[in-house]
């Protein structure tokens, strides 16, 4: 393996990692803040892709506008889902199980609704104007759209970190995860915060779907395919840790990228192996701070 090939594979891994991160970020956000495991996160990703497709093809919108529409659309639908359904089961005994079931039911309903609206044919989006080609430097070719995605991913990571760590709403959101009741007592409107955060998380999912659409095919059931991968990212990164998700995605993307080059016949199980190793040695996630274990 020469140096330029290593550079190429690193970049490939980075592209994969960024897309993984974009999907997983919403999942980890809503888990970290709301203590909600949104199994239907992939469905919002799929909705985003379809909304973007709709905006571009039927309404002849600009791609970047379409991505925004996708994010907003998925966000609004997410808030509705939280407000109408999820909210009702907070605090119930066995909440975790009911959360998973309820969000699982979202997957089924959204899948069939998408099928009713858009049919089963594959939809497709073009790369946006100006990002259709690639640039070559020092023997390394890189599609410009992939570069754009990596840039956007970094931007979102930094922005999210800044919001969560440095702004008051961000701190409130983080504190919500720690203690819903305590915050309620302190005059924070916890239900509204939860709805909002859920909306932001699903908007991130929808945005990721829109960004990924020009690279993938838009089909019903696309959500289920990304959810397991994002789940692995979130588990490796430590559930609810934003930077963890980024690092987890990076680790997974790069490991996958080099596995493809070195042991292609095992490429499809590498993600799982990484995850299981992580779980054995650090079950709460590689990048999560050690928790105080109670007896």
């Amino acid at each position: 393996m020469d140096v330029s090939f290593i550079a190429v594979q690193l970049l490939s891994g980075l592209t994969m990692a960024t897309l993984l991160f974009l999907v997983a970020s919403g999942l980890t956000l809503i888990f970290g803040v709301g203590n909600v495991f949104n199994f239907a996160h992939g469905s919002f990703y799929m909705l985003g892709a379809y909304l973007a497709y709709q905006t571009v093809s039927a309404w002849h919108g600009n791609f970047w506008v379409a991505a925004l529409v996708a994010a907003i659309g998925a966000g609004i639908l997410g808030m509705m889902a939280e407000f109408l359904f999820l909210r009702r089961i907070y605090g119930r005994a066995e909440e975790g199980g009911f959360q998973i079931l309820l969000t699982y039911s979202f997957i089924l309903v959204i899948d069939d609704l998408v099928k009713m609206i858009w049919g089963t044919e594959y939809k497709s989006l073009l790369r946006p104007a100006g990002f259709q080609g690639s640039i070559t430097a020092a023997g390394v070719t890189m599609p410009t759209y992939n570069l754009a995605i990596i840039g956007i991913g970094l931007l979102i990571a930094v922005l999210a970190w800044w919001i969560l760590a440095r702004t008051r709403p961000g701190r409130v959101a983080r504190a919500t995860a720690l203690d819903r009741e305590m915050l309620g007592a302190m005059g924070v409107n916890v239900p509204r915060t939860m709805t909002l955060v859920f909306g932001i998380a699903t908007a991130l999912g929808g945005f990721a779907g829109a960004l990924a659409a020009p690279l993938r095919s838009v089909t019903p059931g696309a959500g289920i395919e990304v959810i397991i991968d994002s789940l692995i990212v979130v588990v490796i990164g430590g559930m609810g840790h934003f930077w963890g998700a980024w690092l987890g995605a990076l680790l997974l993307g790069e490991v996958n990228s080099f596995a493809v080059a070195i042991v292609p016949e095992w490429a499809s199980v590498v993600s799982y192996v990484v995850m299981v190793l992580c779980l054995i040695f650090k079950p709460e996630g590689l990048f999560a701070p050690r928790q105080v274990r109670k007896a």
Binding site: M16, G133, R216, P220, G221, S257, A267
Partner: protein, 416 residues
């Protein structure tokens, strides 16, 4: 007390089970066909196309008064592409709905499970879209017939194409990318087998196994570019094919290698989903083409399908269409849909004119393997917007004779 109630509920459920069949009144003079196509997820498109095409064929036949005094009737249950559920459905079809034929299925796994039911209950199973060669080779059983090409035939055609290519444009190295499951592995093994059989010299420089429905191919693409193969064979299908092509284009992969996907790469949904992004000059094929052969029959078939559904068919549709025609023809010959053994005899060696047959050829069912024998055309992507939303269709056809594509008599999947 409550526990007793739950007992009562169980009893009620069981009673419903027992009484349900009484409600199903046997209708007279109907040929019942029990189909099991998936209607959701990635394969849902093929399922929908198949059901639409089968119903189109049935409407045509019933419009002409049916066959041997019978009308055809199709029932479809969403198989969810799950083998265990499909087995249940198949048994229900046989026992409750009293179907005469089992029909369909997209996934080979479901096909393998249903052929087992067919074998045990001696009920004819007409296979349409699934491609695993096993079904007509080592898993062969007398009540199974397949009316679309299997992967072996596609790969044989692909191998012949590559053989001819070597004479005009010499190549030496080859790489493969295909989904990491039986279908992907079968194709590669069968291609290598056929290349050897036809005496083609080649050197393998890479084998890549993304998982089925993998969203990202970037790492595979850059790795393939490093391997510098002359030929890249792809065993990807549907959305995976679309994603691979879309992601590979800006890397200039298709200028560096000859991309060849002889089984499913030329399926219409790949072309419709990639539109103008589909590079020119890719070597693709499918088990039916909307623009080949340019016979009246094919044109009419495609047009009718479009009028009926508002979209152009994938090859799955033509398989289902062929299946209905085969059933009709068999019943016509036998005179009733109940004499299974006579129907098997009628299907064996049956000649059947299909939309995908060029004028000088008629498809027939090989009596030894129950596999339909058809010509296969391999084409190259050219600009063509007659079948929107596709902007590219195949052209510059190379046509391979059906007999050349059959597996040798002693071929078995086990000998890999």
């Amino acid at each position: 007390m409550l526990k007793l109630r739950s007992g009562v509920i169980v009893l009620l459920v069981l009673c419903t089970l027992v009484l349900a069949p009484l409600a199903v009144m046997a209708q007279e003079k109907v040929i019942k066909i029990g189909a099991m196509y998936p209607m959701t997820g990635r394969a849902g498109l093929y399922g929908l196309d198949s059901v639409d095409a089968a119903e189109m064929a049935i409407a045509e036949i019933n419009g002409k008064g049916g066959v041997a005094g019978y009308k055809l009737e199709l029932i479809n249950t969403d198989s969810k592409a799950k083998p265990d559920y499909s087995v249940m459905v198949a048994k229900r079809y046989i026992e409750q709905d009293k179907v005469h034929f089992l029909f369909g299925v997209v996934s080979s796994a479901v096909g393998l499970a249903v052929t087992e039911v067919s074998k045990q209950s001696k009920k004819i199973f007409i296979g349409t879209d699934h491609a695993s060669t096993q079904l007509t080779a080592d898993k062969f059983q007398p009540y199974y017939f397949r009316v679309s090409n299997n992967t072996f035939q596609s790969m044989a055609a692909g191998a012949l194409y590559l053989k001819e290519l070597a004479q005009t444009k010499p190549w030496s190295t080859i790489a493969y990318v295909g989904p990491d499951y039986a279908y992907g592995h079968d194709q590669w093994n069968e291609l290598k087998f056929n290349l050897d059989r036809f005496g083609v010299k080649y050197k393998i420089v890479g084998e890549y196994w993304p998982k089925l429905f993998a969203p990202d191919y970037t790492a595979f693409i850059t790795s393939i570019i490093k391997d510098k193969p002359d030929i890249l064979i792809s065993g990807l299908w549907g959305g995976d094919s679309v994603a691979f092509i879309k992601q590979a284009t800006p890397y200039g992969l298709f200028e560096k290698v000859l991309f060849c996907s002889p089984d499913a790469g030329g399926n219409y949904e790949v072309m419709s989903a990639t539109g103008a992004e589909l590079p020119l000059g890719l070597v693709l094929s499918a088990r039916h083409h909307n623009n080949w052969p340019e016979t009246a029959a094919n044109k009419e078939y495609v047009k009718k399908f479009f009028t009926r559904t508002g979209r152009y068919p994938t090859y799955a549709a033509e398989g289902a269409y062929a299946g209905i025609l085969a059933i009709a023809q068999a019943v016509e010959k036998v005179g009733n849909p109940t004499d299974t053994e006579a129907l098997v005899k009628a299907l064996e060696g049956m000649k059947i004119k299909l939309p995908e047959d060029p004028d000088d050829f008629t498809s027939y069912i090989d009596p030894a393997t129950h596999q339909i024998v058809q010509v296969q055309a391999i084409g190259v992507t050219v600009a063509n917007d007659q079948f929107p939303p596709a902007k590219r269709m195949l052209g510059n056809w190379k046509v391979y004779k059906a007999e050349d594509l059959l597996p040798p008599k002693d071929f078995s999947e086990k000998k890999k």
